[in-house]
């Protein structure tokens, strides 16, 4: 009998030990290799699409979508299957996120070309040149006040000797991996399901900024993944009942890093943490302690306040201007005082194809239709976690964010809001679709769910980026990356080499970005100095008012791109949003307006590269008493 008892006790110990041993260590990769093959095929097709886009053929867009389908279709199908390892699902999510990053790289494989990238390139150059922060950046005055991205890039450069472009690729690539990893782990921690986490990754990748903006060398592209890391760390810290130094340290240092990296992400994080803390405190029956969230919220508020008040004071004005302008315009639209912005308007002969427009609207309708069901599913749980309650509140903001799309001033806010709101939509939507709790109102067919997810994904791509942004192609006027070409780049390099840095000049939006970053010049606009220099170019003559403006702005050079007289701008304006008739250009700039500088006394035409001409107006400005 004693022997039996001892044997039972030994079996019990072994059972206990086995139950608390980590997994045996054999990882199943499932169909990851096959998905990699499909993804590789998709990327190859998209590369061909990019090549066709450069040749401006009709094959470009169909090939692009075929490539996307190859990448996203099999991955989504596989993630919907019920019985697979968490490791496999995480691997699929990572492959999807990285593949979509490579899609962006293939559009511009040789240099940074997205508009925001030039802004941050200038801040990085200033840090590398001076070794210090907060040098003035004429392209975006607020950028130097949030130098986290550029400081991190500079650290990587000092440690590796690599140039800015490869560093940008590596840094944003790592940020993309962190985004997908942390997103997956957040959702799997909250729901306890790798299947839900995998589907949530697909839904999150459908946000309008995922492909075009979150992969740019821009401060938000680093701050956003850090915010996801902070959320994950807080969930784990709370899950360990506040007894986890690792997660506490990551959360608190991550909050500090975000505070010095991006203003909007900081403010959204403060609001998120504050709401989470309030919900956690109010819900007394929550089994997890609230104090880690409260500590994090207080720390976030303090860190952001210290940085904003001491260094980043411009951020409050900047954000206030953007948000209030959008909200004011929305109110005007709702009351009938202003007409709503027309969506998918053709510009410069570039029109979104009808199938894309249909898919975009379908995607939005699907999400709006699913929204009440996913929220109901989440709160029907006997004791939904406080974080889930916060996600439900965030999801409720989605319809309002869509409304901003019908305003000119609020479109950008709507776009950026999707990066945060889709965390909620992804978590709640995926849980509703494939979560373990029963639901009477739920899609059952895997084919139908796949189709809906693919429509939502495609719709996000379409809403976030018009075709001319997704694919490279011939030059177009004021078309962001489509306007970046060798003549403009060579001109910017020439200006730096021959005229030196920091000259005050007037240039259109494309050349201003090139001159302000590669050329290290000081383009003067109403956005950075409250001087409407665009009027100088739009005027048919240079009279006393224009001369006074040139003197006040201390302009030395005017850079004229004669291609502005060929077509109206693809995006809203040639120079800046404050220019005459911004957002309503239907005809090109008059050639006479651009040529008027040729006949002005005291003006020297010092550079000509065919399309781009530079005038030295020192003689003209100095002639005025």
């Amino acid at each position: 009998m004693v022997g039996t008892l001892l044997a039972r006790r030994a079996r019990g110990i072994r059972t206990f030990a086995h139950a608390h041993q980590p997994p045996s260590g054999t990882a199943r990769v499932g169909v990851i290799p096959m998905i990699l093959a499909w993804t590789g095929a998709g990327l190859f097709l998209i590369a061909i699409a990019d090549d066709q886009g450069r040749q401006d053929t009709v094959l470009a867009l169909p090939l692009f979508w075929l490539g996307i389908l190859c990448m996203v279709g099999p991955t989504t199908w596989r993630l919907l299957e019920p019985a697979h390892s968490r490791g496999e699902r995480l691997g699929l999510a990572l492959i999807l996120g990285l593949a979509l990053y490579v899609v962006k790289l293939m559009v511009s494989p040789l240099a940074l070309t997205l508009p925001d990238e030039f802004t941050h390139q200038r801040t990085l150059q200033d840090i590398l040149t001076t070794g210090h922060l907060f040098a003035d950046n004429p392209l975006l005055r607020i950028s130097p006040e949030f130098p986290g991205l550029e400081a991190a890039t500079a650290v990587a450069g000092m440690s590796s000797g690599l140039g800015s472009f490869p560093l940008a690729i590596v840094l944003i690539g790592v940020a993309r991996v962190v985004t997908m990893l942390s997103l997956f782990l957040v959702v799997s921690t909250v729901t306890g399901s790798g299947r839900v986490a995998g589907i949530a990754s697909v839904v999150y990748a459908a946000n309008a900024s995922f492909l075009p903006f979150d992969v740019a060398f821009s401060y938000e592209s680093l701050a956003l993944p850090l915010a996801f890391v902070v959320v994950w760390a807080l969930l784990r810290w709370q899950g360990h009942r506040g007894r986890s130094g690792l997660h506490a340290g990551i959360a608190l240092t991550g909050i500090a890093a975000i505070a010095v990296t991006h203003h909007l992400t900081t403010l959204v994080l403060v609001v998120l943490l504050a709401t989470w803390a309030v919900v956690a405190l109010v819900r007394r029956r929550d089994p997890l302690p609230a104090w880690p969230i409260v500590v994090a919220a207080l720390w976030a508020a303090a860190a952001s306040a210290v940085w904003l008040l001491s260094v980043g004071s411009l951020a409050l004005t900047y954000l206030n201007t953007i948000v209030t302008a959008g909200v004011a315009e929305l109110l005007a639209v709702l009351t009938g005082a202003a007409a709503p912005k027309r969506l998918f308007v053709p510009r410069g002969g570039l029109q979104a194809p009808l199938p894309e427009i249909i898919v975009a609207y379908s995607a939005v309708l699907l999400l709006l239709f699913a929204l009440p069901f996913m929220i109901r599913y989440a709160i029907r749980h006997r004791r939904p976690a406080s974080f889930v309650v916060v996600m439900c509140l965030a999801a409720l903001l989605y319809p309002g964010s869509l409304a901003l799309r019908f305003t000119t001033a609020g479109s950008e806010t709507s776009q950026r809001a999707s990066e945060f709101l889709f965390l909620a939509l992804g978590l709640l939507g995926a849980d509703w679709l494939v979560g373990s709790r029963s639901s009477r109102v739920r899609l059952r067919s895997r084919r139908l769910i796949s189709a809906c997810l693919l429509i939502v994904f495609a719709g996000g791509l379409i809403v976030g980026d018009p075709p001319q942004g997704r694919l490279p192609g011939p030059y177009h006027v004021a078309a962001e990356q489509r306007s970046i070409e060798p003549e403009g780049v060579d001109t910017a390099r020439w200006v730096l080499a021959m005229l030196g840095p920091n000259n005050r000049l007037i240039a259109d939006r494309t050349n201003a970005k090139l001159l302000g970053s590669i050329g290290e010049q000081d383009p003067v606009t109403s956005a950075n100095e409250h001087i409407g220099t665009a009027f100088i170019v739009f005027s048919s003559r240079i009279g006393p008012d224009e001369l006074a403006l040139l003197q006040r702005a201390q302009i030395r050079y005017i850079v004229v791109d004669f291609r502005l007289a060929h077509d109206p701008p693809i995006y809203s304006y040639y120079f800046e949003s404050a220019e005459p008739n911004a957002g309503n250009h239907t005809t090109p700039l008059p050639l006479a307006s651009l040529k008027k500088f040729d006949v002005l006394p005291g003006v020297a035409r010092i550079y000509d590269s065919g399309d781009i001409v530079i005038y030295d107006i020192r003689g003209l400005v100095n002639s005025v008493p």
Binding site: L43, M158, L181, P472, D490
Partner: protein, 244 residues
């Protein structure tokens, strides 16, 4: 392994401190991740899953780079290889302190063995090959587009010594035969010899000084001819410098 990695990181950043620049080239990026990895292995709760180890390593690396960069830039010396290395050595020291203070938890994560079939390896190879080929196609396409751009720059600015200077740069992909004509109202035209300018090459020449009696603006025209009927015209206007 953590101790070995910390030693490597210490040596690497120490070398950067002494040399005043990176010593391991691109591998220096790996050094930046070592403190985060060690922290993931030593700070409780351990062991973490491989996914969490990866996230902790990469996340703390990014966080560390941001904070190190900002702190280094705020020092009087500023952000340079020395200050970055010094700050990173502090993170290495912190990680080392975590390693020293950590005690074995008893539960170890078993080494992950990934079990794949030969067909899976083939599929991975195909996928990576297709993706790599696609990226090469994209790069080649972008390079061709860049090379096909035909840029001829022509300018008239003061040289470093203050003398008026003409210049041109040929980036058309082919050699050019160029000539320059200086038109002066009421005065004879001046022809300046340029000759052949190879692709990628530049030419500079001096602008003649004007007579004291000549107060007009000069128009300087560049004409170039290249292969396949390529014709290039450029113009600049200057108020030339008077002869002393």
């Amino acid at each position: 392994m953590s101790a070995v990695l910390l030693v490597v990181a210490g040596v690497g950043f120490g070398g950067q401190l002494v040399a005043g620049g990176p010593v391991l080239g691109p591998l220096g990026l790996v050094l930046l991740g070592i403190p985060g990895f060690v922290i993931s292995q030593t700070v409780r709760p351990v062991p973490l899953s491989w996914a969490e180890v990866t996230l902790v390593t990469l996340g703390t690396t990014l966080i560390g780079m941001v904070l190190v960069g900002v702190v280094a830039a705020l020092t009087p010396r500023g952000l340079d290889a020395f200050s970055v290395a010094a700050a990173e050595l502090v993170t290495v020291a912190l990680a080392a302190a975590c390693l020293v203070r950590s005690s074995p938890s008893g539960a170890r994560r078993a080494p992950v063995r990934i079990h794949v079939r030969p067909g899976s390896i083939l599929a991975v190879g195909i996928g990576l090959a297709l993706a790599g080929a696609g990226y090469l196609v994209a790069m080649r396409s972008a390079q061709v587009q860049q090379d096909q751009a035909s840029v001829v720059q022509f300018w008239a600015v003061a040289s470093a010594t203050g003398e008026p200077q003409l210049g041109l740069r040929n980036a058309t992909g082919t050699g050019l035969e160029c000539s320059i004509a200086v038109s002066r109202p009421k005065l004879p035209e001046i022809d300046l010899a340029v000759g052949s300018v190879d692709n990628g090459a530049s030419w500079t020449g001096s602008l003649p000084l004007r007579d004291a009696t000549d107060t007009t603006r000069w128009q300087i025209s560049l004409s170039c001819a290249g292969a396949d009927g390529l014709a290039v015209q450029r113009r600049v206007f200057v108020d030339p410098v008077a002869a002393s």
